[in-house]
């Protein structure tokens, strides 16, 4: 057995074992830490499958941003966990859990069977996708699919992000609507954190722009760049150097909508051209795509940052 196969097998076992343990963990916080570690291992697995864009997104969004949200949530739930049983919900009965295990196992077995026992290569459009990339000025097939071939999906995803943000805002009490996220303003007292929040964001911004730019030819793109920017912004907010903005501020509203709006606007102008909605005229395809992606990155950064910041809990 070659070393690579052994290493891959070890990774798979690790991922499965960790997933089982996370489900069996009795308290929320250890499970969340396990989840952050799980995201990291999953990113490695994606890389071994040559899916660089997914790996980067998993590392930045799945493990980083989502991990941050879950950590904050589990810290909040600590009080509820130590409550007496009537307040904490009872776990589902054993037969139900066994049924869930059985059904999940069946689905896994069916998928594994499909993958392992079909002969011949799977039908794929990869060749045709790669064929048309030079016309768009792209080298990265994934970005080509996201922005050009299946642009409608990407647009809808960004709208879904916006809807998720509005869903989180709707959790606010009436009198806090339009207010500032978080229970209290953070005072900048932690020297080490302030230093990090001053040194890291400039570097982070440069790296985010680099990842956005390189996404045309290598793994990267708008989503990953936006996630890095969001993390930098959150770092500054958590250190207390800047307060979280009141969600009724015009610039907040503008930033979260300008990305999807620009995408829709570019798409609508496609009606003036022979190919219809979301088609790009060949001559200006690349600059147009870059413009849309840049604006999208800004929106994604602000949306993700506000998602982690949470619903408003202070008066505006």
């Amino acid at each position: 057995m070659s070393l690579a196969v052994l290493a891959d097998a070890a990774l798979v076992l690790l991922v499965l074992g960790l997933a089982l343990w996370i489900n069996a963990a009795s308290r929320a916080f250890p499970a969340v830490v396990g989840y952050v570690a799980f995201g990291l291992l999953l990113a490695l697995a994606w890389l071994r499958l040559s899916a660089g864009d997914v790996a980067m997104t998993e590392a930045a969004v799945g493990s980083g941003v989502t991990g941050a949200v879950l950590i904050a949530a589990s810290v909040r739930l600590r009080a509820a966990e130590t409550e007496a049983p009537p307040l904490a919900a009872a776990p589902p009965a054993l037969p139900l859990r066994l049924l869930a295990l059985l059904l999940s196992g069946l689905v896994t077995a069916a998928l594994a069977g499909l993958v392992l026992w079909t002969t011949g290569p799977a039908p794929s459009l990869a060749d045709q996708a790669v064929q048309h990339l030079p016309g768009l000025g792209m080298g990265n097939a994934v970005t080509g699919v996201l922005i050009a071939y299946r642009a409608l999906d990407t647009l809808l995803e960004k709208v879904v992000l916006l809807l998720a943000l509005m869903g989180i805002w709707s959790l606010a009490k009436d009198r806090y609507w339009g207010g500032i996220p978080g229970p209290s303003r953070i005072q900048p007292t932690n020297g080490a954190l302030i230093l990090l929040a001053r040194l890291l964001p400039p570097i982070g911004i440069v790296v985010a722009v680099y990842i956005l730019w390189v996404g045309a030819a290598e793994p990267g793109g708008a989503f990953q760049g936006g996630a890095i920017l969001a993390a930098m912004w959150l770092l500054v907010m958590l250190a207390g150097l800047r307060d979280a903005p009141a969600i009724s501020r015009p610039w907040v509203r503008l930033c979260v909508t300008v990305g999807p709006a620009a995408f829709i606007a570019v798409g609508l102008t496609g009606f003036a051209l022979p190919n219809g909605f979301l088609s790009y005229p060949d001559s200006i395809a690349k600059p147009l795509i870059i413009a849309v992606e840049s604006v999208l990155t800004l929106s994604i950064a602000v949306i993700l940052g506000l998602l982690v910041a949470g619903p408003p809990e202070q008066e505006p």
């Binding site: 932690n190 080490a192 040194l199 890291l200 570097i203």
Partner: protein, 97 residues
């Protein structure tokens, strides 16, 4: 020249791996949070640092090498801050178990 580079890589990466081993053993075996933190920082700084140094001879472009060093510097920065934060948390509240 190639040979010297390869020997350097093997030696430095192996040393780095040893520090990661030491960091893990320390994290699992040391008696309390502060000493475990000490073990963690050894893996963070020396482990990753030696691995990056060992990989430098294997990269054939200057931007590639600079990227590796940048990863190390950023991890150092983050690791140093996390060490301070964790130490403060342990000092104040016993880690909120």
């Amino acid at each position: 020249m190639m040979l010297v580079g390869n020997i350097a890589t093997v030696v430095l990466v192996s040393l780095g791996a040893v520090f990661f081993l030491a960091g893990t053993v320390g994290l699992l075996r040391f008696p309390d949070s502060m000493t475990r933190l000490h073990a963690l920082t050894k893996a963070d700084n020396l482990g990753l640092g030696l691995v990056v140094l060992g990989l430098l001879p294997q990269v054939d472009s200057v931007p590639g090498a600079l990227k590796l060093v940048a990863v190390w510097v950023l991890t150092q920065l983050a690791g140093a801050t996390v060490t301070q934060l964790v130490a403060r948390a342990v000092w104040r509240g016993g880690g909120r178990s």
